[in-house]
């Protein structure tokens, strides 16, 4: 397994473009800390983001995993091109001739994606922990380490999304087209399927069907945290609206994304096995 990871690492790290992208991705995660530095100081109005309670434990786990998962699109470029380049350079063919089995080939890509998801999760954990320790109003251990399921959700979300990217890379064989396909798929889910089911079976059915679609189910893992923020909630209540939303991470949601992950990896393997190179 280590050998497969090393093989993929040599391929990625010696490529200037992917090396720059990988480093920038992790630097960007670190940059989340910069939100703390946002400060407005206009005469009588003083506004310091960090002091508004957004970095309070355990809310910070939710907020930061949500922000960081926005960066995954950036990483999708690396994943898709690391797969598609194997086709365009014909190195996939050479790898197989050199004695890598098709299973090992897929495994080396999946292990790499897995490793990146783990590292990314650890990064988000550390950045949030440090930010929280600086700015949180509560620093009791039991509070700090509550709601850690958002990190698990973040990890599952990355793994699922990257597996989808891997699959698209193999399916389409061209990085640019694969990324285009990703966007088209997003449109298919949100416009095509959502309204098709709505039209056929009504709003309720549409909402429950959406939960099972790959991109939507990944998006559902971590719900937007903005409206959960106290300041926003009190604002909404002033307007007179009642506010009830379920923000928690559900087990069945993780299960759905887990299923998609295995489906994508399995389909990638089948495609590779069936195709003549």
């Amino acid at each position: 397994m280590l050998r497969l990871l090393q093989i993929e690492f040599i391929k990625l790290w010696n490529n200037n473009a992917s090396r720059v992208l990988i480093i920038s991705y992790f630097v960007l995660i670190l940059c989340m800390a910069l939100i703390a530095a946002i400060k407005f100081d206009i005469g009588p109005i003083q506004f310091h983001v960090a002091e508004q309670g957004i970095f309070n434990f355990p809310y910070i786990w939710h907020l930061n995993t949500w922000i960081a998962s926005g960066l995954k699109l950036f990483f999708a470029i690396i994943i898709v091109s690391m797969m598609a380049n194997e086709y365009s350079n014909k190195t996939l063919k050479q790898n197989l001739i050199d004695g890598l089995s098709k299973k090992e080939f897929i495994a080396s890509k999946f292990i790499t994606v897995f490793a990146f998801s783990v590292i990314s999760t650890i990064f988000v954990f550390l950045v949030s922990l440090v930010l929280g320790l600086f700015y949180s109003d509560f620093t009791e251990l039991s509070i700090i380490f509550s709601e850690l399921e958002y990190l698990l959700a973040y990890f599952i979300k990355l793994l699922g999304f990257f597996s989808f990217c891997l699959f698209l890379g193999i399916l389409v064989k061209r990085s640019a087209f694969a990324l285009g396909f990703l966007i088209i798929w997003f449109a298919i889910e949100n416009l095509g399927i959502r309204f098709l089911v709505w039209w056929l079976a009504g709003k309720e059915a549409s909402a429950s069907a959406m939960k099972f679609l790959p991109l939507e189910s990944m998006g559902n893992l971590i719900k937007e945290p903005i409206s959960r923020f106290k300041a926003v909630q009190s604002m909404v209540e002033q307007v007179g609206e009642e506010f009830h939303k379920d923000y928690s991470v559900h087990f069945y949601e993780i299960l759905i994304v887990g299923c998609w992950t295995s489906i994508f990896i399995y389909l990638s393997f089948i495609l590779l096995k069936k195709r003549d190179l």
Partner: protein, 299 residues
């Protein structure tokens, strides 16, 4: 003798097109094999199948007696097919290190193999800066990293300039001299004739011949004869039991032998029968003539 590769009734169909039809042959250790055939005769497809990149339709093949899986057998094989494929953004050394990882062999042979193909000075240049000849030589170095039991080369001199072709052939001969089994696919006959001891000849995916090169040149050769009294000569040859077909062209008679006969005894016989020759040459058919006659006969 140890069998390296056995191919049994292998068939590959691309839709309605049959690229390889019911092909069987064996590769024994220590020989240099040529797979000969015109373009599109199924050479690359056959190699693709045994190298695990093309899926077979029917039949089977076995590496090293069939006791190992194809992908682990390939770790003991060195192969280059069509174009050299490497990561363009990596240097020769980095590319070869990756191959070592895949083949699970130590990295200490890299320099030695680069030296052998004459690329040691360019070892730190990126692959994309290489000329086609250099790329092809790097591919050979890469195929040799594991000191393979068999080296498979598919059209190794395709698209190279005469100097490049010469270099590659020199390298192949050097490797063959070390006792490595080689399987060389080519449509260049002189290439195969110069290097190979055995041949498999394909046409439209079917095997026409497989066996030693010498036996393929089965004929006992032929005589080219010219005499003043042509009808008498034709008459004599026609009645002689040792000759097969006779051909007359521009006053030159070509008589193909059915059994061994040397030029002096023929000359002697003819003289005794009162036929005086003005031209007598005994020749062996070249691989090219044999190949053309084989591929034409079976149309």
């Amino acid at each position: 003798m140890e069998t390296i590769l056995t191919v049994n009734n292998l068939t590959k169909k691309f839709g309605y097109l049959t690229a390889v039809k019911d092909l069987s042959f064996n590769i024994e250790k220590g020989n240099v094999y040529g797979i000969l055939g015109p373009n599109g005769s199924g050479k690359s497809t056959t190699l693709g199948i045994v190298l695990n990149v093309v899926n077979k339709t029917a039949g089977d093949f076995a590496w090293f007696g069939g006791n190992v899986s194809t992908h682990s057998a390939l770790k003991k094989v060195g192969a280059i097919i069509e174009r050299p494929n490497f990561y363009p953004y990596m240097t020769a050394i980095q590319n070869l290190k990756l191959v070592c990882k895949i083949k699970e062999v130590p990295e200490d042979k890299i320099e030695e193999k680069l030296e052998m193909v004459g690329l040691l000075e360019r070892k730190n240049s990126k692959f994309r800066t290489y000329s086609l000849g250099m790329k092809q030589r790097l591919a050979i170095a890469s195929a040799l990293l594991n000191d393979p039991e068999i080296l498979i080369l598919d059209e190794p001199t395709n698209g190279l300039d005469p100097q490049g072709i010469h270099q590659i052939r020199g390298i192949i001969k050097k490797i063959a001299a070390q006792g490595t089994t080689i399987l060389l696919a080519s449509h260049l006959l002189d290439e195969v004739e110069k290097v190979c001891s055995h041949v498999v000849i394909l046409r439209k995916g079917e095997k026409l011949y497989s066996g030693p090169v010498d036996e393929m040149l089965t004929s006992y050769g032929f005589f080219e004869l010219r005499a003043t009294d042509e009808p008498a000569l034709m008459n004599f040859l026609g009645n002689h039991g040792s000759f097969g077909s006779l051909k007359q062209e521009n006053g030159l008679i070509t008589a193909i032998l059915k059994e061994e006969m040397d030029a002096s005894s023929l000359n002697n016989d003819l003289f005794k029968n009162g036929i005086v020759l003005s031209h007598l040459v005994k020749r062996k058919a070249s691989l090219e003539e044999q190949f053309l006659s084989l591929t034409n006969h079976n149309k």
